[in-house]
Symmetry: C2
Subunit: 186 residues, 2 copies
Amino acid sequence: MTHSLLTTYIPHPGFVIWMTGLSGAGKTTLALALEADFRRRAMRVERLDGDTVRQSLTRDLGFSKEDRDKNIERVTFVAQVLSRNNVAVLASFISPYRQMREFARQQTTNFVEVFVDASLEVCAARDTKGLYAKAMAGQIPNFTGVNDPYEPPLNPELHLRTDQESEEESVARIMAWLGGRGWLPR
Amino acid sequence: MTHSLLTTYIPHPGFVIWMTGLSGAGKTTLALALEADFRRRAMRVERLDGDTVRQSLTRDLGFSKEDRDKNIERVTFVAQVLSRNNVAVLASFISPYRQMREFARQQTTNFVEVFVDASLEVCAARDTKGLYAKAMAGQIPNFTGVNDPYEPPLNPELHLRTDQESEEESVARIMAWLGGRGWLPR
C-alpha cells in the first residue's frame, strides 16, 4: 500500500483499553463499538484481539498457561509501541492471569484495565460460538471459567457488568472515564 | 507509565525503512543514525531489530527457514500497525528471503526496501560480534552468507554499498529519498 498524502488525525495521547473477562462477556462487542466511536472522532486506533493477531502474531499458540502468557507478552509488545506513539489501543483478551495483566500495565502507556464482567451463567447462555457447550461436555480443555482459572481484577479502572447494563451504558462509562482524563481529542 | 500531556510531534506519513543485508553490513548502524535524525525532526519513530524484538516477540525463534519466516511475519504485523498510524518504522533484519520481504511490502504502508550491501569479505573482516569466525569454523549452523542462503533484492528502492560509501553518505541518500517523496515533516 502506498499513501503519500497525510491522513488527518486529531492529536490525542496514546492509551490502552485492556478488556479482560470470560468468553461471551462482551469484550469484542465493546471494542467494536469503541473503535467506531474513536474513528468518528478522527482518532488513531488499533483493535487487538484473537481474530486480529491469530493470523500472524500468535498463530503457533494454544491455550496452556505458558501459551496464554506468550500470547499476552507478544500483544503487549504491540500495545507498547502503539500506545507510546499516540495510538488508542483496544485490546480484548480473556487474559485470565493477574500477573500478565500487570505486565501489560507496566510495559505500556496509559493502561486502563476494564473488567468486562458477566456471570458464567449469562456467558454460557449467550454462548455465541457454541464453545461453553463443548467445554462443559469435556470437548475443550483449558476453557476459562469451565476447566481453566480466571483471576478477576482486584482494582480495575472500570468494572462493567454487562449482564446488568446495556452496551450503550458500558460504552458511555468508558468514554466518560477517558474524557475525564483528557485523553479524547478536543 | 502514565503520560497525560500530549507529546508534540510533527505530522508526517507512516513508512517502513526495511534494511536487509548480511550480518555486519551496517543495518543497525544506519538504523541508529536514522532514528537520531528522525527524533531531531520530532517525528514518531520505532526501531525494530533483533535486539528490540527478541525479548518478547520472537523469543522462541531460531534460524531455520521456518523460524526466519515466522520472525518476519511477526515483525511485519508490528510494522503494519505502526506504519498505518503515521509512525516511521526502522526495521533492520537480515531477512534473507525475497518472498518474506515481498510479504512485508504488501502488508505495510509506504514500504522502502533498502539493500545494505557489503561484500562477504568486508562483513567477515568487520565481524563485530565474532560470528563469522565461528560460522566459518562450523560452530554456527544456518549463518547467512556462510552456510545459509541470502537472496539479494532485485529491485530495491535504495542500494547502499556500505563498503564503498561512508555512513554519512548512506544516511544522506536515505534522507534525500524520503524528502523526495515528501515523507519528512516540513
